[in-house]
Amino acid sequence: MRDIEKEPVAAEDAAAEKTTPMTMIQALRSAMDVMMERDSNVVVYGQDVGYFGGVFRVTDGLQAKYGKHRAFDAPISEGGIVGTAVGMAAYGLRPVVEIQFADYFYPATDQIVSEAARLRYRSAGDFTSPLTIRMPCGGGIYGGQTHSQSPEAFFTHVCGLRTVMPSNPYDAKGLLIASIENDDPVIFLEPKRLYNGPFDGHHDRPVVSWSKHDLGKVPEGYYTVPLDKAAIFRPGADLTVLTYGTMVWVSEAAANETGIDAEIIDLRTLWPLDLDTIVESVKKTGRCVVVHEATKTSGFGAELAALVQEHCFYHLEAPIERVAGWDTPYPHAQEWAYFPGPDRVGAAFKRAMEA
């Protein structure tokens, strides 16, 4: 049996110090590469993951480097992919599986909720499920209803799961390594609109490359980003923005465009949640705007708003604002009317300031 309270492994590798410009795809691949090299129990599989290297090329080259027994293809059966991973994990492997789009996880729900998330509880700690389920998520890529969903709230609602969503290559690699090392099942959501560059919501402007950005400078070796710490992406005094993934960048654009000095908190790990950082910030600013791309009703923003209310009520100067996707399927034809862009976010900033 594995030690549950295992200490994080110190980064002894000098390669951790040396950085290389990476896209989020390269950073994720590097995380799996580093972990497959360090730990022979790490296996990677999913639809088109092995020979082809993944539809987004995230696992490209891993089969060539580590062989078909460590990086391989799976049938089109999400339930089977996660189910086998739960078994592997229980018996000592550290599977990293890919659900090709987060929109496709639903057939695996029973395996995720009833098996992976419960195994530790059900076996009174004799077994754990140290598996990582990667899923590209979110819109802004003209993918329509079947390739654009943000299902994070399904997972944060389940006890026993960790839910992670990075907003940049640096965090992506550090969080993925920490996820692989973690003994709990981790849902690792990858905002695919950020794979190749930051995206501020202005879809009509040229794409910016990660190579132009500090957060695209990624250490080549091993390092971790803790699974329960938010990042203050942009310090500010006027209001607190609670957000994650693509919306971190949209919120930054909204702050710049409105001139409102927003403190943008990139949650990075939705659960466990870094409540301390949130509470400290809201107590400082007295105003809070929650931004996510997923549909609004019963979205994770509802949980955030409730927590802020519970912990900061008497510090609030204004009602908590939520900016989210509309309560509709993610549309093909009106993608930018659906996507909560900087105008919608900025308008919420103004409402919060004027209240």
């Binding site: 329960d228 990042a231 960048w249 930054e252 400082k284 609030l316 100067e317």
Partner: protein
């Protein structure tokens, strides 16, 4: 790019200048064609001036309250293509001080998507380090300003106290409530100057300051007995100034003679009830006013001298055959007098409809200029608020105004016994220079006669 100058248009016959009562745009604003630029006011009507073109406002032609001559520059716009202005572009218009470009709002020229290094402060440990600690080190340089500083406080809380009913709940943000709670202040007694009457931090500050100054021993935290501070200078602009000028002119020039008489309207009210019961559905409900108008019209046939306008400079009283009846009407902007033209040619239902139409037009600012001028005699009524007696001010240069007081059921002695009757006073003022008291009294008695025997309103 060109400059397009919009001039003060001629909004009514014979108007030499218009007063700007509101600017709807400011320098730097982008305006679209047909967007309203300003509200300007003539003698009584307010007119919206739309923009004929798309453009950006460069300068405004004056301040609110200023009168601009017809043809004077109202707004100067910068437009695509050639403008209509060939003069010296550098020459600023009167109020161009605020015309600087709104540069402050523009974000700095930062490369797209680029975040400078110091902006990203990891809340947790920098995990690149050799031994990442679970605790993490918080940024010691975290913002220092902890005390609440709401954005709205800059605008300054009103020093005006707002008195709340005992069972009306005070509105305040949770942070304000907490502060008040901690200080033992009951928000019920704190005035609110924020949106929807919300109590702001500044209101609380004012309240605390007032309590420290005031007689706290007696009144405690109760703002109902707090000392009040401050004053408010309200400039007279637009309609309010016109009203003031008109009232002043009337009272300064016209020696008013006011005559009050009691009218028994029991029969009239009974008739009105019958008419409304029988004809109300098809012809509309009658109020007392159209019946009074008819009585005034009929009385004027016997006393044409009260239906007149007096030019005291020329020394000429002009008597009119038509009766153009002004009806004093309260609007949100102030008192207006829409005019029922040729009231002598209208039956009560026609008058009633015209009153409704004109009053609505006046209240919504849609009344045409000639609907608000040219009356020859005026009726003023405050309806149920009419009181017992009033001293109406003559609508200069007319010579008479008939005021209506409220109807009240009172005991009246008749044939040695008490009977309940509906009584109403008419309080009327006359220009005593041209109307003698006897004439005024006879005129009102004639009106009274018609009202007390209402059949005579219809059978002449």
């Amino acid at each position: 790019m060109g400059i397009h100058v919009i001039k003060m248009p001629d909004v009514g016959e014979g108007i030499a200048e218009c007063e700007v009562v509101a600017w709807r745009v400011q320098p730097g604003d982008a305006v679209k064609e047909d967007q309203i630029l300003a509200d300007v006011m003539t003698d009584k009507a307010t007119v919206e001036i739309p923009s004929p073109v798309h453009g950006t406002v460069m300068a405004l032609g004056g301040k609110v309250g200023e009168s601009l001559a017809v043809g004077a520059e109202l707004v100067r716009l910068e437009i695509e293509g050639a403008g209509n202005f060939k003069g010296d572009a550098a020459k600023p218009a009167a109020a161009s001080a605020g015309a600087s470009a709104p540069a402050a709002d523009e974000p700095a020229d930062v490369p797209h998507g680029f975040v400078p290094e110091p902006q990203r402060v990891a809340a947790g440990a920098a995990s690149v380090s050799a031994a990442p600690s679970a605790e993490g080190v918080r940024d010691p340089g975290a913002p220092a300003a902890r005390h609440p500083a709401p954005a709205s406080s800059g605008s300054g809380a009103s020093s005006r106290a707002i008195f709340r009913d005992a069972n009306e709940k005070p509105l305040a943000a949770p942070a304000v409530r907490k502060r008040a709670w901690d200080m033992g202040i009951e928000l019920q007694y704190v005035g609110g100057s924020g949106a929807a009457g919300r109590i702001t931090h500044a209101d609380l500050d004012n309240f605390i300051a007032g309590r420290q100054r005031g007689h706290s021993a007696q009144s405690g935290a109760d703002s109902r007995y707090a000392e009040l501070q401050g004053e408010e200078a309200v400039p007279l602009i637009g309609l309010r100034r016109k009203i003031a000028e008109k009232m002043q002119l009337s009272k300064r020039q016209i020696p008013h003679f006011t005559y009050v008489e009691e009218v028994d309207v029991t029969e009239l009210e009974a008739l009105r009830t019958q008419l409304n019961a029988r004809y109300g559905a098809e012809r509309g409900k009658l109020t007392l006013l159209p019946l009074l108008m008819r009585a005034v019209v009929l009385a004027i046939r016997k006393f044409p001298e009260v239906n007149a306008r007096f030019d005291d400079q020329a020394g000429i009283v002009t008597r009119y055959q038509p009766v153009h009846l002004g009806i004093a009407t309260q609007t949100d902007a102030g008192l207006m007098v829409p005019v029922i033209r040729n009231a002598e040619a209208r039956d009560p239902w026609s008058s009633a409809k015209e009153i409704v139409r004109l009053a609505e037009a006046a209240r919504t600012g849609k009344a045409a200029r000639d609907e608000l001028s040219g009356s020859t005699i005026t009726i003023t009524s405050l309806g149920p608020l009419g009181g017992i007696v009033s001293t109406p001010v003559i609508n200069h240069p007319e010579v008479a105004i008939v005021g209506v007081n409220r109807i009240l059921e009172r005991p009246v002695v008749r044939n040695g016994g008490l009977v309940p009757r509906k009584l109403m006073n008419l309080s009327s003022s006359f220009d005593h220079r041209v109307i003698d008291g006897m004439v005024a009294a006879e005129f009102i008695q004639t009106v009274r006669g018609y009202l007390e025997s209402p059949a005579t309103l219809f059978v002449e």
